[in-house]
Symmetry: C2
Subunit: 423 residues, 2 copies
């Protein structure tokens, strides 16, 4: 028999991971809904014309292309490709639904596919988790991006994080101020590495990128707080956005305007956000910003104001595991119902049914007799409690509930056991 393998760079999400992921996804979905972001799903694939030219040469190479069905396929023709992100599909949805009431606030939690070189924690299929508000330039929408990230991370149990906020136009004013107007992108690319390489590293890179020592010196001066010419309106905007976020209940210690934040992506046009965990955890867990040019790309209506934020949900899954923020439960089953004999089976099933109705997850052993072996089965599956219903208990309408960690046992009617479990 041939051996089978997973496709390169993919994985199965086994119950232990899935239970954790569903918990995280349900938590952030609830937060999104609290702010009026309603869920959207789009197809896994888009027409190749929809995706081509949107992600640069590199993106083009990483796209999974689908052969035409029927004759075209035998000739190698391609008509579809797997979704590469959730933003182009959103732009398509907006173009195809011109009558949709604005602002349109949507959340989207779905996998995307990129044929990147697989690495630890990096896969070719991974979930993205975005909220976006389309059709308004109100600073409320920007502030909500901050609030949603704040509330999501807080709800998941993260306590020590910083949401950094900056403004793309402020960075532009900064480039103008150091007479690097034509090298803005280059300046941002160097600055974006600050967290990783420090000031000396950025300075070295700036010189390599043919900035002068004086320009580098000026840059630090502005980043350290000197007033940037013509940047006041953007400073004001950021101040207002943070103020609104605080009114929404955001902890003032968790948000900070930071002139050094230079998110790489070209398409941001206004405020930008990035969230880092403080302490030993490098890299960001969320990023976003205002990108007024992108959503209108298919509608031919010119700029459509839009602002959004992405939770780095794959990273969050990993970090929560590392930090012990989610219990490592291999199963969602609470109680393993052992089966003593054919005669006690009905009583056992009826007890299990009462527990289930009360919200307890009960798995019934398909093995019979030899209770010790059955209890071992429960432990091997990571189930915390076992139910034992022998002939005496069956006759009395009771059962024994055994805590498989402590060994503690209680006997009672199913209703009493439900109360004991504290459901």
């Amino acid at each position: 028999m041939a051996k089978v393998f997973l496709p390169k760079g993919t994985r199965d999400l086994m119950p232990e991971q899935m239970n954790r992921r569903l918990m995280v996804i349900n938590t952030v979905r609830d937060v999104f809904a609290r702010y009026g972001f309603d869920p959207l799903e789009t197809p896994a694939f888009e027409r190749i014309e929809t995706l081509t030219g949107k992600y640069g040469d590199e993106g083009e190479k990483l796209m999974f292309r689908i052969l035409k069905r029927g004759e075209g396929g035998t000739k190698g023709e391609v008509d579809l490709a797997l979704r590469y992100d959730l933003t182009v599909p959103l732009a398509r949805v907006m173009a195809m639904n011109p009558g949709i009431p604005l602002p349109f606030k949507r959340s989207q939690i779905q996998p995307v596919w990129r044929a990147d070189r697989p690495q630890r924690g990096r896969f070719r299929e991974f979930y993205q988790c975005d909220v976006d508000t389309v059709g308004t330039d109100s600073p409320l929408a920007d502030a909500e991006c901050i609030a949603v990230v704040h509330d999501s991370l807080t709800a998941l149990g993260f306590t020590d994080f910083t949401i950094r906020v900056n403004h793309r136009q402020l960075l532009r004013a900064l480039a103008v101020a150091i007479e690097a107007e034509d090298q803005e992108t280059s300046m941002l690319q160097a600055l974006d590495k600050l967290d990783k390489v420090g000031r000396n590293g950025v300075e070295k890179e700036l010189l390599e990128r043919s900035f002068s020592r004086d320009q580098a010196h000026q840059l630090w001066r502005y980043l350290d707080g000197a007033e940037i010419p013509d940047a006041a309106p953007f400073e004001q905007q950021l101040k207002r956005i943070v103020e609104l976020a605080l009114s929404m209940g955001v902890d003032p210690d968790r948000v900070r305007v930071d002139r050094t934040l230079a998110r790489g992506l070209d398409y941001y046009t206004g405020p930008v956000f990035e969230t880092v965990l403080n302490g030993d955890y490098s890299g960001s867990v969320s990023g976003g910003g205002r990108y007024d040019g992108l959503v209108g790309m298919f509608s031919g209506k010119g700029d459509v104001p839009a602002v959004g934020v992405s939770l780095g949900i794959e990273r969050i899954f990993m970090l929560m595991e590392e930090m012990g923020l989610v219990p490592a439960t291999r199963t969602a089953t609470h109680v393993w119902a052992t089966v003593f004999s054919v005669e006690t089976m009905a009583a056992t099933l009826e007890s299990a049914s009462i527990l289930r109705t009360a919200g307890v997850n009960v798995q019934v052993s398909t093995r019979m007799g030899k209770i010790g072996k059955q209890l071992k089965d429960a432990s091997s599956k990571g189930i915390p409690f076992a139910l034992v219903c022998g002939p005496e208990e069956a006759a009395a309408g009771t059962a024994v509930l055994k805590n498989l960690t402590t060994g503690e046992q209680v006997t009672g009617t199913p209703d009493e056991l439900v109360r004991h479990l504290g459901v």
Copy 2:
């Protein structure tokens, strides 16, 4: 600007549908967990070798094939294809995880892709929703299939359905009894149409399929209850399975052994299940059975006992809408917070924040002033309540909550409004 389209046979799941779908999915996930079925997800695509030869010629044609990245792709080479069902991926998971504790009980709710001719309610991307128990031949596992379907449909609000149960070996005994041992498949194909074409239709088809009138006559006699030779063990099995299901709390009126149930699929080897809604709703909402030959296909271990059931979740979404079992809410937002002026903004956001903390979904208007226009916005989005916080309310720490259906208004502190909303 080029117009954009959806790929043929696909759709966007807009908020109205998504809210309904998530409600259904969360409900059935809860039921699955009650019985110890833990969630699994597998990648959207599998290696082409894994899928080839598993779905017959027809399936092969409907598969979405993915071009190799890099050089192979320019030569039209294919190395992957999109998942066609959830059963072959399960067999692959079992083969790749030989140490997994058995029985392995998994639920899986994910889309599959088939390039079928699109029709009303039939799409090229659609969700399947399966539970399977692998590694035991205990009748408990078969009975749980019935219980899970029963509890899922009940939890979703369906009241009048019948879970029909039959046995593949009983159908074989039936074929032998009418001396059609070599035409068993043909007999089943004819019989499978009973619901659609009635007895006369099936009889006509049997004659066309070169069965004799006497064979057809014998067939009805057995289907009407005459004892089928050598079928007693299978009758006993079915009786036991139904008995166990009733012990699990299944309503006896919702399950029925039915000798005429002839589920088409070749791979079933034991009990088979199919659920129909009674009344005017044709077609099944669930189907499954025991298929001991399939899960072992990659492991080379010969037969691996397995039994499972699929909820026809796309059909269930549609039916629940038609039958009014889910409210047609266009948004999950409960309250639309209007914004009177810049001065009242902070008070409004603080009220909204208190409501959110209590579990109320609040969307804040990005339009300011002109409350009438803002209330219209709320109605156009289908939001049931509006919050108004003018200068007086802001000063008093209160707000007005307006029911947008009845026009009723109450004034109170945010906490009082939460109680009024009954959250």
